[in-house]
């Protein structure tokens, strides 16, 4: 294999380093207008009246649209369509969309939005899950504040806990968080003469967007075309509708192209965030460290609308007890409405929150058992063929143990006692470990497939047409590698053309660590089929059997005869064959369904070790080193894997130590990059990445997805390292230096 397992430079890197790569924000059309959204300034209210007059009187303002101008169904949402495109009678969060403005310039559009007069009659609001679940709590939606409750049981926790020698009960909280992709929500829409509305959008989910656009516009899907230019980061934020419907409505109403490009504050205030959670855990083990029973009550604040709420909470349930052997378990998960801004998908999809809590708790349990935290995890980790904590069977590649063994053999872990030594008396150092589990794919019950079309071009090069979007992770290059490997050519002669709902086959979203397996395998199958077609074509042209044809880097060969790929391409035309073949791959489904769309069949695992330094005086925590051990199956592109890992560690460090949306009475107070702090270059430690030796039979060339697991266990590794350094454990994320100082002082006094 020459293309697989070697570093192939990103195909789009050249266009990106020269500035040629076009993003949705870079699109300009002759005569285009700019769009802006009129947003609710209050968290919960009845709309009494909307007066567009003052806005329309402003120079440059061209149109104002309200809910009456939504021609189809005034609703959207990935699973539960509970979010109005434009609110008709009620607003449910500060920032809910009430009207749209189109104007000649972006400035005029936002000025116009400020001048649309909306009268509100405030309603009682609720801002945290505990209040939302109280009797007589204000209702965010008429059907009640519980969007979804999931209850799973295995064994019997009633009899299980008494069997344990040590039982711990702890409550953890994680703050809501913000994706902060460098490119905010943006797009451009245009109506062509045949009535088709084309939307160029920064999105992860072109095909689902097309469906949602058709639903809101009351048009058949073949009147809506979604094209995705380069995407400037997403991480789950752009998995679904952001500005797409607004753009289409404005373009349709004005007859002119319309562009939107959200300012940072708007982006960081009103679009779906990472769920804040409240997690109540109980866990019991034998004195020798054998896990006996575990229970979890998980509350996910989905904000005013579902977005992905029920599924994100479902993921918390699925990953909340890791990949360990536990005979007795009970899990209750609640996705709860509040009047906070909506929460949605964010790298890990509900997993990083529970992983932080669970891996902190396990660490504490190891201490109580007098065991090394790594050996404790190894003792309990489930292997291939064994039953996981929910009752799922780990029936595909299962590398949790290998990732932990990787940590055990790493220099960081081996030298951890030496590394703790620090001469400064006001500093302390510690090393921590944690693991995580993340399913590949959307889970049972959601259509989870991808198609790909691989074509030969007249010049003898190849194109892979896919329905998904490379949002920065580098998946398009991976698809080229897969196609090139099967055809025996260099990946330089393969191009990947991404999401265009009119020209490309569907691929589902770029999400859920699913694309390496799904679209990757579809590319694999299509390329394999095209190889057969190429050989048959050459054989027929030369008058021989297809089995006698061999594909070489330059073209087919048979008994001394050779041809270029370009020639074969022309023979295909002569023989009446289409230039490309399509293939589809469906995500394999778990053989033992548990209900609620659970579980996944294929899981990725990761373990991280972190070395931290704690300033005893200020509580400041600095991460000095991180070692990542990833179970991603066979590695397709080592540089791509390192990129995912290093970026995942950065987001994990932000999640652990820095990132917290301060939301007061439903208003996001820190919606700028100067107030919502993400890691910068000087904040980042050295990251060492290793892949463990596993092979996923379902994936292309043995690979599976790793984007989410690569970030998932970073935060608990840091918290566990802090515990190792100073002997105290915090249960609120992100770590607050003030809280840490207090905890250290308390420990000192006692």
């Amino acid at each position: 294999m020459s293309e697989i397992g070697t570093t192939v430079f990103r195909k789009d890197a050249r266009a990106k380093v020269t500035g040629e790569a076009l993003y949705a924000t870079d699109l300009f059309e002759e005569g285009m207008l700019h769009g802006a959204v009129v947003r609710s300034p209050v968290p919960h209210a009845r709309i009494l009246s909307i007066d567009a007059g003052p806005a329309l009187a402003l120079p440059g303002v061209f149109a104002v649209l309200t809910s009456k101008d939504v021609p189809g169904k005034n609703e959207f949402g990935v699973i539960t369509r509970d979010q109005p495109v434009l609110c008709n009678d009620t607003v449910r969060f500060t920032g809910d969309a009430v009207a749209l403005v189109a104007a000649e310039t972006r400035e005029q559009a936002y000025q116009g939005a400020r001048e649309v007069r909306v009268a509100y009659d405030p309603l009682p609001s609720v801002f945290d899950v505990e209040s939302a679940l109280r009797e007589h709590a204000p209702l965010v939606h008429e059907k009640g504040n519980i969007l979804k409750h999931v209850h799973l049981e295995k064994g019997n926790v009633e009899s299980g806990f008494p069997e344990a020698d040590i039982v711990l009960s702890e409550t953890f909280r994680t703050a809501p968080g913000e994706h902060m992709p460098l490119e905010t929500e943006a797009g451009l829409a245009k109506v062509s003469q045949d009535g088709v509305i084309t939307i160029w959008a920064s999105t992860q989910s072109a095909y689902r967007d097309q469906r949602d656009l058709a639903h809101a516009l009351g048009l058949p899907e073949n009147r809506i075309r979604v094209i995705v230019p380069h995407v400037g980061g997403a991480f789950g934020r752009k998995d679904g509708i952001t500005v797409q419907i607004y753009l289409a409505l404005l373009a349709r109403a004005t007859g002119r192209p319309v562009k939107m490009h959200c300012p940072r504050e708007e982006s960081a205030s009103f679009f779906p965030k990472r769920h804040g959670t409240l997690l109540k855990y109980k866990v019991g083990a034998k004195r020798d460290g054998t896990l006996v029973a575990a229970a979890l009550e998980a509350y996910y604040d989905t904000g005013a609308y579902a977005v992905f709420g029920e599924k994100v909470m479902g993921a918390g349930v699925e990953y909340g007890l890791g990949g360990y052997r536990i005979p007795h378990t009970q899990i209750n998960g609640y996705s709860v409405y509040t009047n906070n801004p909506p929460a949605g998908a964010f790298r890990g999809f509900g997993m990083p929150q529970v992983t932080f809590a669970w891996e902190s708790l396990l660490d504490e349990l190891a201490y109580r058992c007098g065991m090394d935290p790594l050996e404790f995890r190894l003792k309990n980790s489930a292997d291939h063929g064994e039953e996981g904590p929910l009752g799922q069977i780990f029936e595909t590649s299962t590398g949790l143990r290998q990732t932990l063994e990787g940590v055990r053999s790493s220099p960081l872990w081996k030298k951890r006692l030496d590394l703790k030594t620090v001469s400064d008396p006001f500093k302390a150092r510690g090393v921590g470990v944690a693991s995580c589990i993340k399913g590949c794919g959307l889970g049972i019950g959601m259509p989870d497939f991808a198609e790909a079309e691989v074509q030969i071009l007249p010049e003898g090069t190849f194109v892979a047409r896919v329905g998904v979007t490379d949002m920065g992770e580098g998946i398009a290059t991976t698809f080229c590698q897969i196609v090139a490997e099967l055809l025996g050519v260099s990946s330089e002669s393969v191009e990947c053309i991404q999401s265009d709902t009119f020209l490309n086959p569907p691929g589902g979203p770029t999400a859920a660590s699913r694309n390496t397996i799904l679209t990757g395998k579809a590319c694999f199958l299509a390329a394999e089929d095209l190889k057969r077609v190429l050989c048959e074509t050459a054989a027929r042209h030369w008058g021989g059997a297809p089995e006698g044809v061999v594909l070489t880097k330059s073209g087919p060969r048979m008994e001394g005869r050779t041809a270029s790929f370009s020639e074969v391409s022309s023979w295909m035309v002569e023989q009446g064959k289409p230039p490309g073949v399509r293939a589809r791959y469906d995500m394999p489904v778990a053989s033992r369904p548990l209900g609620y769309g659970l579980p996944h069949r294929i899981y990725s695992f990761a373990s991280h070790a972190a070395l931290v330094e704690v300033d005893r005086l200020t509580g400041q925590v600095t991460v000095l080193e991180v070692s990542a051990f990833l179970d991603c199956g066979n590695v397709l592109n080592p540089q791509g894997l390192e990129g995912q890992s290093e970026g995942g560690v950065a987001q994990g460090i932000g999640f652990a130590l820095m990132e917290k949306n301060v939301i007061q009475e439903g208003s996001v107070l820190n919606n700028k990059l100067s107030t919502y702090i993400i890691p910068t270059a000087p904040d980042m430690p050295a990251v060492e990445t290793s892949a463990v030796d596993t092979y996923e039979e379902a994936g292309p060339f043995g690979a599976k997805g790793i984007a989410e697991a690569a970030s998932g266990s970073v935060a608990p590794a840091i918290f566990n390292a802090v515990r190792d350094a100073v002997g105290v454990r915090l249960r609120d994320l992100p770590l607050s230096p003030e809280q840490l100082v207090e905890a250290m002082m308390e420990r000192h006094e006692s």
């Binding site: 890197a13 380093v17 020269t18 870079d26 300009f28 902060m180 980061g233 990059l673 270059a681």
Partner: protein
């Protein structure tokens, strides 16, 4: 009002509103969209360009302030289609993911290497501290700048 400045080596004129930023003029009047808008408040570094050789966030500079200045954008680094060694190093080291921060990071690196041809790792991290990246974790950007420094110092 009308301003004149040198843009990527060529003298140019532009009719602008006095309140427009250099970023908007570059993107809208000249359609040089390689310079990105990430925040418009000088907090992300995506709009970094060179003004008289210094790295500047173009969203915080009013366009009239560019009068008579020499402005270099990402498009000005690879004139004639040949990548600058910094750009090549970003490609080879895998320092590019979504790419939205890339032009700004390249321009900051260019300004650094112009002043300090052999920076240490800490100096590189400090020089790009204002270029936020949400994808890469910075490690490969640092390596790319180190590689570019070596290659520029030791031309083959």
């Amino acid at each position: 009002m009308e301003i004149s400045f040198i843009l990527n080596g060529n003298p140019v004129n532009a009719g602008i509103a006095p309140t427009q930023t250099l970023l908007d003029v570059l993107r809208e009047s000249f359609r040089l969209t390689g310079t990105k808008e990430g925040c418009s408040e000088g907090e992300c570094g995506a709009c970094t360009v060179l003004v008289n050789g210094k790295a500047v966030v173009s969203c915080l500079m009013l366009a009239p302030q560019a009068e008579g200045c020499e402005v270099t954008t990402i498009e000005g680094l690879s004139l004639g289609g040949e990548l600058h060694p910094i750009q090549t190093a970003f490609v080879k080291e895998g320092a590019v993911q979504c790419g939205y921060c890339t032009p700004g990071a390249v321009m900051s690196s260019y300004a650094l290497l112009s002043e300090n041809p052999r920076p240490g790792e800490g100096e590189i991290r400090a020089a790009i501290a204002g270029n936020l990246c949400r994808c890469t974790g910075y490690q490969k950007i640092v390596k790319a700048v180190q590689r570019a420094a070596e290659e520029m110092d030791d031309p083959v």
